[in-house]
Symmetry: C2
Subunit: 292 residues, 2 copies
């Protein structure tokens, strides 16, 4: 079993254990939470968190509940993002979006509950009892990067930019917050939990920043070059919604080059870790070449 | 200045300091957060938190950021509760609801951001650095009582009960989660931050449980007996929506008696604190006699 598969198995099993069971009289919200968490997805963020912890000398086991918390936050953001009043997307990861499957109200509540349970998982885990100082720093970091100055801020800029021509610098800021913030959270939280030195954490944050940008550019490219079956969601939606993307602003070839440049910069940031960073290097290369 | 006014002034000033400033390109979300926080409200939960901390021998100053976190969680829940897909209320505290003033998408995001910033405020405060173990326990408690097994669970039951006849025991469970959970969080978090003994915390939780029930019954009574100007929201909405309430299930007089009984039980729970609990006693009596 590869290390990636091993991480994946641990994350998926632990997510199942952490999510609430519908033992009360309103099962719809618990079912909706489990539906969206089980919806698949690449689990990139929690894997990055575990590996960042390992790379800085920590035990990935110690970071598992934080990794799950990060995936819960990512999943809540997708549920709310798909709502009719937001992006109004009916499909997510090849399945009906949460609000299509469970109704809008349950989707709002499922998102709220996932965000709340994420912080419960982080604060209540065994490692937090052993290293409360590191756990608190990690929780503050997670909240800061997920909040108004991070991911939610990025979604707000996205909303406000709808139907408008957007400059490349604004697109970059939006993606840095909307996509990059949780990538950065993955690497930074992993480092903090491991008690990493500042240089290690800085290197991982540079990696995450470039990885996040390459990831978003690749998303924009796939919306043009892929097909909906491979992607699990409609293609061409950016053009249809007249959204500014890296492809619309730079052209397809330049966008591809930029994604490759960002990936190269991400690899470069890992130099300080030597051969130990092979897994993170492979992850960056794999994400650049992904087809969905 | 009374202790209540003193607490109120501290809470309101600190909330202003903790909320993000719209220094980026999407001010709508920050403005919406501030709008809803500034919307008034009785600040009962944060006041209870500060006083519970003091009563257990702690310094209310140490608990201030947790008190603000609790108020942010309460406010986010009101914003999401008022959304068209939830209760669809246009007015809140005598002003247009957040989604009326800022649009639905910004209201969803403002709620998400308030919930996220709440955990940031709690994890990043100065007291958390001094007592990381207590802070972590308090964060876990807050998340647990606000999540699927607490407040959000109560809202889910509420949703599922719409247009249905509801038994008294189900109404009690719903209110215990929807309203009671954050009241309990206020008292329990205050106690935990002060390093309270188990007996103290148990007594405060009994107080909170009864106070929460009296509070909800009084809400149901005011929906029948008050006028919309005094209340700041439409009256008679429960009957209009054919919602089961303590008044519809018990009748007005029995509901009044039950609110008084719960208040008496709340006072009784404070016996162990002696005269020091005068403030909490007065709070319970004031809430029973409130007109809005």
């Amino acid at each position: 079993m590869t290390r990636f598969d091993d991480y994946l198995e641990q994350i998926n099993a632990r997510l199942q254990a952490l999510l609430p069971v519908s033992d009360y009289d309103a099962p719809a919200v618990c079912d909706a939470m489990r539906y969206s968490i089980a919806g698949g997805g690449k689990r990139i963020r929690p894997v990055l968190l575990l590996e960042s912890c390992r790379l800085c000398g920590g035990n990935p086991q110690d970071a598992l509940d934080f990794a799950c918390a990060l995936e819960m936050i990512h999943t809540y953001s997708l549920i709310h993002d798909d709502l009719p009043c937001m992006d109004d997307d009916d499909m997510r990861r090849g399945k009906p979006a949460c609000h299509i499957a469970f109704g809008e109200a349950s989707a709002v509540l499922a998102g709220d509950a996932l965000l709340t349970e994420a912080f419960h998982a982080a604060a209540a885990c065994a490692f937090a009892k052993q290293h409360p100082d590191r756990a608190l720093e990690a929780i503050a970091l997670l909240a800061s990067l997920a909040g108004a100055g991070g991911m939610v801020g990025g979604q707000a800029i996205d909303l406000q930019s709808e139907g408008q021509a957007v400059s490349l610098s604004r697109l970059r800021l939006m993606d840095k917050l909307k996509t990059g913030a949780l990538m950065k959270a993955a690497c930074a939280v992993g480092a903090v939990l491991a008690g990493a030195e500042k240089a290690q954490r800085d290197a991982l944050e540079r990696y995450a920043d470039n990885l996040g940008q390459a990831f978003q550019i690749t998303d924009d490219i796939l919306d043009v070059t892929s097909d909906s079956q491979t992607l699990g969601k409609p293609v061409g939606s950016d053009a249809e919604q007249q959204k500014s993307t890296y492809v619309s602003l730079l052209g397809l070839e330049t966008a591809k080059q930029k994604a490759a440049d960002c990936t190269a910069a991400a690899l470069q940031a890992l130099a300080t870790f030597g051969d130990e960073a092979a897994f993170l290097r492979k992850t960056a290369e794999r994400l650049l070449k992904r087809t969905s």
